[in-house]
């Protein structure tokens, strides 16, 4: 009888357990297609870093970092097709490739490392098998890599463009056109420019070799790069416009390399300082006369130690004039987080990272009106792309 009782209890317990068993049939999360990628620096001092987030569309009012991949240090973001590439600051120079899986999660899909360099300072994708990346930190080279296989395939030796007397040399900003890669070069002598000139290295893409170094003394310091600032613009005719920050002796301004040429166009110089009243940095050109820059507000703090210090300006490349400040926007971090993108013919999206907001604004092409499209968690958006 006792055995029967025990058996009954055992069977009953099994039945209870079975009934309580969790339904563990596989339920795959809903597939999410990621079409836009954002890099946002988030956090309060002194703990802030970069988050990479993907979204299906732009139909939201606030972008959080909650679905983002956290970087171990500040990173700039680049894009090629469906993937984004994070170039972190801090040695060794490391580029991390992220894909978005079918749940929308950013997944590391490979890394490239260059020992001894501090960071990848500029990246330019040519096609599925060729891309170039300059490195900062004293190495005289541009790395050539295969974006699809994500491996280094060669380098461009920059020793021919080194200058005696330059204590450090920076390679910031790239634009490719017709088999040539144009790369900004800036020479320092201590904290000051070695020469008050703007320099661009012309690199033959097929041979991975420097053709020449061109200089223009009307402006100086092609010295900004990253996914969140920009100095190179290519117009519909194939002309390249390049912005120099200027120095104590020469103003910030825009120079041009005409289509088919590999020298600066002596007939063109846009004195931004004269036109806008103060020095400028950043250059975005979207065709049809839509060109923008950011102008410094307090010239004594160009690197914004004391907070945001730039304002968006619309400029006219052809007539070399300022079209005035863009709406009534607040001051933004123009030295580190001012990005503009055009994804369709209706609007231009741009980051307003200021003291009181980190938001994406819309510039309506049809009427020039400006409005906030959505806000973003974090301090400043340092990159956003439409994935193709």
């Amino acid at each position: 009888m006792k055995k029967w009782n025990l058996s009954f209890l055992f069977v009953a317990a099994l039945a209870v357990l079975w009934s309580c068993k969790k339904d563990d049939s596989p339920t795959s999360p809903e597939a999410v297609e990621i079409n836009y990628a954002f890099a946002n620096v988030a956090g309060a001092s002194p703990n802030a870093t970069t988050y990479v987030t993907g979204t299906k569309d732009l139909n939201f009012t606030n972008l959080t970092t909650g679905n983002g991949a956290e970087q171990a240090n500040f990173a700039s973001m680049w894009r090629y097709k469906q993937d984004v590439y994070l170039t972190a600051s801090g040695a060794p120079a490391t580029m991390t490739r992220y894909s978005f899986d079918n749940t929308g999660k950013p997944v590391v899909a490979g890394k490239l490392v260059v020992p001894g360099a501090n960071t990848f300072s500029s990246v330019e994708f040519i096609n599925d098998s060729v891309a170039f990346a300059s490195v900062g930190g004293g190495l005289a080279r541009v790395v050539r890599f295969h974006p699809t296989e994500f491996r280094i395939t060669g380098e461009v030796n920059l020793t021919p463009i080194l200058k005696t007397g330059a204590t450090s040399t920076f390679y910031l900003g790239m634009k490719s056109r017709s088999g040539k890669l144009f790369m900004g070069v800036h020479y320092f002598n201590g904290p000051n420019p070695l020469y008050d000139s703007a320099y661009v290295a012309v690199i033959d893409i097929a041979q991975s070799k420097v053709d020449k170094l061109i200089a223009d003394g009307r402006t100086c310091a092609i010295f900004q790069s990253g996914s969140s600032v920009n100095a190179f613009a290519l117009d519909a005719t194939g002309d390249i416009y390049i912005l120099g920050l200027g120095s104590a002796k020469v103003p910030s301004g825009i120079v041009r390399i005409k289509n088919g040429e590999t020298n600066f166009d002596p007939s063109y110089f846009f004195d931004l300082k004269a036109a806008a009243g103060k020095d400028c940095r950043n250059l975005w050109h979207f065709g049809n006369g839509l060109t923008f820059t950011t102008r410094v507000v307090e010239p004594s703090d160009p690197f914004e130690l004391n907070g945001p210090n730039y304002e968006f300006y619309k400029i006219d490349l052809a007539n070399k004039t300022s079209l005035g400040k863009l709406s009534t926007l607040p001051k933004v971090f123009g030295s580190s987080a001012a990005t503009m993108r055009k994804f369709d013919d209706n609007e231009i999206l741009f980051v307003v990272a200021g003291a009181n907001e980190n938001a994406m604004y819309s510039f309506k092409i049809s009427d020039g009106s400006v409005s906030r499209k959505f806000t973003m968690a974090g301090n400043r958006c340092t990159g956003f792309y439409k994935l193709k």
């Binding site: 988030a42 956090g43 309060a44 001092s45 002194p46 703990n47 802030a48 870093t49 988050y51 970092t65 909650g66 679905n67 983002g68 991949a69 956290e70 171990a72 801090g90 040695a91 060794p92 490391t94 999660k105 950013p106 490979g110 890394k111 490239l112 490392v113 260059v114 020992p115 001894g116 360099a117 930190g137 004293g138 190495l139 005289a140 790395v143 994500f150 491996r151 280094i152 020793t159 330059a166 204590t167 450090s168 040399t169 002598n189 201590g190 000051n192 104590a248 690197f303 914004e304 130690l305 030295s335 580190s336 200021g354 003291a355 009181n356 907001e357 980190n358 968690a377 974090g378 301090n379």
Partner: protein, 777 residues
């Protein structure tokens, strides 16, 4: 009328005689004291089945049958002691038994009031006391020892001699000040850092969390750590040698010789060396630039330090209880292996520093009626050399992967920097105590700091040698404290005020011009502490301090290049509150403390794309609790456990937070441990007839995982964390002739786990150590 205390003292003796007359057994009476001759109450005495406790005055009496008897004496806060005595019928025996404190007690702080032996008193300001003697036979450095205390975290970047950052109840870095015998360690030069200082030169360590006595004259925001140097015996020689994994060698020598208690010479020194070539898991890029995982030995992390101190003086003269003059020669050589997150190895960068210090000290208990004084004056010169000129770029296998055309391994300019620093310090401490109920303590510390240097390599880069312009800093810290004992309430009160001032002369670079830059500040502080001790078993404390830390010269003037000067920096301030309860029992003791800090104007380096500047940015509220328990289940065993939970909450204003919204307000600050603890079990056999001792110990250190960045950002599965750590160490020692010769063996990080104090920076794995000690007195 006979004073009550005297009556109590004579009572056992009276009992001895009375009982002796009544029966034919042996009466054994006596007094148990600690090494400061303070009575030890509730100490357990046992022989056979006979047991008793000492009373509040430490007195006891036992009635024992004649014969050879061993009386075992134990107390939770002291090492057990066995006293052997041959008792004859009719005898009456008086025993004076002195107990040695265990390594860490929950006692009150013994505050030096005059520096003279015996001139110590109890203090309401709570502190953790660590007796360094327990570690003389162990292969631990001072930072390791401090890391075992409740409320304390030491985060190191590597092996022997690596950078160590201390945190006391949540306040970190420059907010903590360090002293040796009341003198700031900054003024003792190279090798005096707690990551290198050998415990063999220390008698005990006092850790003040939040509230700091005026005797320690410094602008400490969140507490202070003071080392008291050894003054054990009039004549002794103590030598140790330790050998360990990673080619680690440590030698120490301490000695003192007194001539008729009038003159003395003393010397101490130590030498540390390690290759620090422990294995780390790293990534090395292959020919395609893709990183591959490797386990390699660190290849450029050698460390060497030494310290030699010679002192001579006199004691018990008409004008001084103690006076002496001394010289300290010390040095450090360190190879720098990697960047701050251990991703980029370096192969040629190193730093070395040498210091010579001269000093004179004096103390007099009865300087005037009721007045005692302590004075110290010292001067040192430090020469520091930082070399970072290599163009090589290394990978973790030690190979040269690339060669730069400019820039060093660390700095963009490259450096061959030689800095020369002259320090002068003067300290005067006066104590007036009319009776045991009132005392007044005044402390004044004046320091000057002058730095000048040269760097031809950086000069070639910048066009000017910025280091060639001198920087001067003069600091005056004064404090006044009044202590009053309300005897009927058994309540002690200490009230104090402090004043901190500095003026600094430096320069700043404006364009290509060098401009003189002068700054000065005056800041006040105050504290109030109460201690209530109704009996020997219970104690309660509460203390408050309005604390401050002045900006240092680097924060004020920057590095003249990329770190810009900030003439608007204000002192960091903090409201610190400590509360505590303590219970003592012969077989256990426990203490629970709560702490609160409200800090403001905390100075941080704010970086922009090109420049950086120190600014008053952070405001935080810290609350926490720490608990400690010591149990002696058996006279041979001691179990000590402690744990700390601290909640550091961001209170930074929107303006200073660097964030455009307030979503980080009231969140826990990241990258700071908030839950951690330690435990140690030790076993010690009492010395037998041959006075040989056996000891075994095991300890475990736990730190709960924490985020590197803010908790609300990022996917939980992709967040960067510093993982939980459980590090176990064990060791055993055997001593001959009452500890005159000790051989010890230890295993650190027994389980060979990966240890990270800081994100991504691996600390050593399992290591083995042997140590030999000879102590002659």
């Amino acid at each position: 009328m006979i004073p009550t205390a005297l009556q109590k003292s004579f009572l056992p003796l009276l009992l001895v005689f009375v009982c002796n007359a009544a029966i034919a057994q042996v009466i054994v009476a006596g007094k148990i004291t600690n090494k400061n001759n303070e009575p030890v109450s509730n100490a357990s005495l046992q022989t056979g089945e006979i047991k008793m406790l000492s009373n509040e005055e430490g007195l006891f009496n036992l009635t024992l049958p004649s014969g050879r008897k061993t009386i075992y004496v134990s107390h939770i806060s002291y090492h057990p002691k066995a006293v052997e005595q041959v008792l004859k019928d009719g005898d009456s025996v008086w025993l004076s038994i002195q107990l040695q404190s265990v390594y860490k007690t929950l006692q009150e702080v013994q505050v030096q009031t005059s520096g003279a032996p015996g001139a110590v008193g109890k203090h309401p300001i709570a502190a953790t006391i660590i007796e360094a003697k327990r570690y003389y036979s162990r292969s631990a450095n001072t930072a390791d020892i401090i890391n075992t205390a409740a409320g304390v975290r030491v985060r190191q970047d590597g092996g022997l001699g690596s950078r160590a950052e201390f945190s006391l109840n949540g306040i970190t870095g420059k907010g903590i000040k360090y002293f040796l015998d009341g003198i700031p360690l900054d003024y003792l030069g190279a090798a005096s850092g707690l990551n290198t200082l050998s415990p063999s030169v220390i008698e005990r360590i006092e850790i003040y969390k939040g509230v700091v006595p005026v005797e320690l004259g410094a602008d400490a925001l969140g507490g202070a750590i003071q080392m008291i140097s050894r003054k054990d015996l009039p004549k002794y020689l103590d030598a140790t040698y330790s050998i360990g994994s990673f080619n680690t060698h440590r030698v120490s020598l301490n000695s003192r010789y007194s001539l008729k208690n009038k003159l003395y010479v003393a010397g101490n020194g130590f030498f540390n060396y390690s290759d620090n070539d422990y294995k780390v898991d790293v990534e090395i890029p292959n020919a395609s630039g893709n990183p591959e995982k490797h386990r390699v030995r660190r290849f450029h992390d050698k460390f060497k330090s030494f310290w030699l101190n010679a002192e001579a003086g006199g004691t018990q003269t008409a004008w001084a209880d103690v006076f002496g003059v001394g010289l300290i020669r010390s040095g450090v050589e360190r190879e720098i292996q990697n960047n701050i997150v251990m991703t980029q190895p370096y192969g040629r960068t190193n730093v070395e520093e040498n210091t010579i210090t001269s000093y004179a000290k004096w103390s007099k208990k009865n300087l005037l009626r009721h007045l005692a004084g302590v004075a110290y004056i010292g001067y040192n010169r430090s020469n520091r050399h930082f070399l970072d000129t290599s163009l090589n770029a290394y990978t973790w296998d030690g190979k040269i992967a690339n060669r730069r055309f400019s820039g060093g391994e660390i700095s963009g300019s490259r450096n061959d920097l030689r800095l020369h620093t002259d320090n002068v310090i003067g300290r005067l401490n006066l104590t007036w105590s009319k009776d045991s109920l009132h005392s007044v303590n005044a402390n004044i510390v004046y320091t000057t700091y002058t730095r000048k240097g040269e760097d031809a390599v950086a000069e070639n880069f910048y066009g000017k040698d910025f280091y060639n312009y001198p920087t001067q800093l003069r600091k005056l810290v004064t404090g006044l404290a009044y202590q009053h004992l309300f005897s009927t309430l058994k309540l002690t009160s200490v009230s104090s005020v402090k004043a901190f001032s500095f003026d600094a002369d430096g320069f700043s670079i404006v364009g290509n011009d060098i401009k003189a830059n002068q700054q000065n500040t005056l800041q006040y502080g105050a504290s109030q502490a109460f201690k209530w001790q109704p009996n020997a078993s219970f104690l309660a404390r509460v203390a408050y301090e309005y604390a401050t830390r002045l900006p240092d010269e680097y924060e004020l003037f920057g590095d003249f290049i990329l770190v810009r000067p900030n003439p608007n920096l204000t002192p960091e301030i903090s409201h610190n509150i400590n509360t505590g309860l303590q219970l003592n029992h012969p077989k256990w003791s426990t203490a629970v403390s709560g702490f609160y800090r409200s800090t403001d104007n905390i100075i941080y380096l704010r970086s922009s794309q090109f420049y950086a500047q120190y600014q008053n940015l952070l405001k935080a509220k810290i609350t926490g609790v720490e608990a400690e328990c010591t149990v002696r289940p058996h006279p041979y065993f001691i179990l000590n456990v402690n744990g700390t939970y601290q909640n550091i909450i961001n209170k930074t204003s929107l303006l200073n937070s660097g964030s455009p919204d307030g979503r980080y307000y009231n969140l826990r600050l990241p990258n700071i441990p908030y839950l951690f603890g330690n435990g140690e079990l030790s076993f010690q056999l009492p010395a037998g007839k041959r006075q040989n001792r056996f000891q075994w110990w095991y300890n475990v250190n736990y730190v709960h995982w924490f985020y590197l960045y803010w908790s609300l950002d990022g996917r939980p599965d992709l967040k960067v964390t510093i993982p939980s750590q459980v590090v176990q160490n064990t060791g055993t020692s055997y001593g001959l002739k009452n500890g005159s010769y000790v051989l010890s063996a230890e295993v650190h990080n027994m389980a060979d786990v990966k240890v990270y104090d800081n994100f991504s920076v691996q600390r050593p794995g399992r290591s083995f150590h042997l140590k030999l000690r000879a102590f002659i007195k």
